[in-house]
Amino acid sequence: MRTASLRRVLRCRDLHLRYGSVVALDGLSLDVEPGRMTGFVGPNGAGKTSTMRIVLGVLGADAGEVTWNDAPLDPAARRRFGYMPEERGLYPKMRVRDQLVYLARLHGLSAAAAQSGSDELLERLGLTDRARDELETLSLGNQQRAQLAAALVHRPELLVLDEPFSGLDPIGVDVLSGVLRAEVARGVPVLFSSHQLELVERLCDAVAIVKDGRIVAAGDVEELRRRGRERTLRVTVETGDGGGWLDGVIGARTVDGDGNGSVLVALDEHADAQAVLDRARAAGPVTHFSEVLPTLSELFREVVQPEPAEPTAEEAIA
């Protein structure tokens, strides 16, 4: 416990927020841990932006608590956070470097540290030759880089980014992914929201799914994909005729087949996947053998949709 309290962890506990009669947050709790990239996903209006604004202190919660290193958040701690709001924007007529230095100083850096930090980051993001230009003269892509720089320039201890990938071209996505990975490697907890679930699945170590102002699923991405499910294998035997070859393997049963030799096999806790493989090889040449996990998108639909829609073949096995 002692070591845990020294780690830089952001905890939101039981956040409540109302806008008039609309409930935005309804007891939301969320942990963002260092050395991990946490994806924050949920339908529009689920409460992602509100949560992030509360963490950054630009919005006050009606109830609940946000702690940083197990201490209630104060303005001094928040000043060391980095934030990219969903509504992007910097001063259009201010020069890029001046802007970064200014923001770094607002976050408490000395003049010298703000200047060297800005120069370093501009270099890293390939904006050095635009440093003295007014922001509005930059291309959209470069403006997005400048926005990222504004969130990073004071070397924040925590990064919160609201839809950072929206509107980025593939190269922009790569740049941003690389920068975020570097921040995580530096030990910075990173929380970002996104609707691009494939991206979240690829980048994030942890994910929190929010719906109607509450977290409905959270934790390690791999764990979430396995949790509460039977193990499922997809096996293709070239000369197979459905799943007849599986008969007699303990704890295994065919749940679906396409008639061309490809079958889905559900395993219970006693089953041995290698035994399934042996039996399949005995039946004919095996061209495909893999564990089937739901994608994050599938997981998302499961936990977010109130009524499960017409189940697809792969979801039906869950």
Partner: protein, 389 residues
């Protein structure tokens, strides 16, 4: 460095960098210099009058006309001309202000004020009287006494300082400058607030500092810039007036300039708070005009009352306006410059303005904090007050 100071410095530097501000400053200075030069040129003309004399009968007018100069407030130059035609030409060209032909006729280009003509007519009466008395055999000594008696002593019941004209002029310049500076920089505060919302940079800034720090920093930075511009304008004006010798600058000039600057600061604070509330209610530049419109009208009304106060500093309207906080920053300097205002009135009026500014600072900060992140249609003042805190 505190957040407020950083914000103030950014406002100062970024505004000063803008071309619009430099152009406006140069225009304002150019205007001041132009006014000074024009008044120097036109002012010089009125100091001398040249009168042409045609024929020997007119020569008798020379000495009495020259003597009447001080009463007219001018120096009279005389020129002898050979013919009526030459006199006509001289008057036509503007070389002569008037000509007396053969002691019987006066030529003038136009006779708007009639003072010079009246002076000539009066000389004519004086000459006729002298001739009549000489013919009646009055001894020369008695004649001289009768024609130039010792002057009457004059006692003004409502004496005006010798520099009254200069003081009125200064008051007019001061009220115009105060009005321009207050409304320009008040709108700059509102515009800056809206710009931060429209460009969405507001959320980035507010994730680092508090709304109150941003608002106060902005007002302080713009106020400092306004003060520089205001002081520069006044400095150029005073220096120009001295160099060109336009106005008999009253001995109060130094104090008057300091007073006007102090009133500018108080007025700017008051109006900046009001304009910041206007800015807090909207999030798009297009909407700002409609919200700031009524405020602009109030400022214009206060300006007009103060402006006409120059000619009626003791009227009830001007006196009342010099105490009402919104109009006091313009009306009180006018009264002070033009008339005699007891010091206590000045102090009370200044204190009232500062107190209302202090109250408005709190209100505007509360409204701003509640609305800084609201984007969308314009809010009513009532709703803005409801979301505060």
């Amino acid at each position: 460095m505190s957040a407020r100071w950083l914000v103030a410095r950014r406002e100062l530097i970024e505004r000063a960098r803008s071309r619009a501000l430099r152009v406006a400053t140069l225009l304002q200075l150019g205007l001041i210099v132009a006014v000074l030069v024009i008044s120097a040129l036109t002012g010089g003309d009125d100091d001398t009058k040249t009168v042409g004399l045609v024929g020997s009968a007119s020569q008798a007018y020379a000495q009495p006309l020259r003597a009447s100069g001080p009463a007219l407030g001018v120096t009279v130059h005389l020129r002898t001309l050979p013919s009526r035609a030459a006199a006509t030409r001289g008057v036509d060209d503007g070389d002569l202000d008037a000509a007396v032909v053969d002691g019987r006729e006066v030529l003038v280009e136009h006779d708007r004020t009639g003072t010079l003509t009246a002076a000539i007519q009066s000389v004519r009466r004086q000459l006729a009287l002298r001739g009549a008395l000489e013919r009646a055999g009055v001894p020369p000594q008695q004649l001289a006494q009768a024609l130039s008696p010792s002057a009457l002593s004059v006692r003004a019941l409502d004496p005006q300082p010798a520099d009254q004209d200069s003081r009125n002029g200064l008051a007019i310049v001061a009220v115009i400058l105060l009005y321009i500076a207050i409304i320009t920089y008040g709108m700059a505060v509102a515009g800056g607030i809206v710009e931060e919302k429209a460009s969405r940079v507001i959320e980035v800034v507010l994730s680092a500092i508090r709304p109150r720090e941003l608002l106060f920093g902005k007002i302080a930075g713009l106020g400092a810039l306004a003060l520089c511009q205001f002081a520069l304008t006044i400095g150029v004006g005073v220096a120009g007036a001295l160099v060109l010798g336009v106005a008999d600058l009253p001995s109060v000039t130094g104090g008057a300039a300091a007073l006007v600057v102090a009133w500018f600061l108080a007025g700017f604070m008051l109006y900046a708070c009001l304009y910041s509330i206007a800015g807090a209610l909207v999030s798009r530049s297009e909407d700002l005009q409609s919200v700031a419109g009524p405020l602009n009208l109030v400022a214009v009304a206060c300006y007009l009352v103060a402006f006409f106060g120059v000619t009626s500093p003791d009227s009830t309207l001007t006196v009342v306006a010099s105490f009402v906080p919104l109009s006091a920053p313009m009306a009180m300097p006018v009264r002070w410059l033009v008339g005699d205002v007891p010091a206590w009135e000045l102090v009370v009026s200044f204190a009232l303005t500062l107190l209302s500014a202090a109250a408005l600072v709190r209100l505007s900060a509360a409204i701003y904090a509640g609305t800084a992140l609201r984007l969308g249609p314009r809010l009513s003042l009532r709703r803005a007050l409801a979301v505060r805190g």
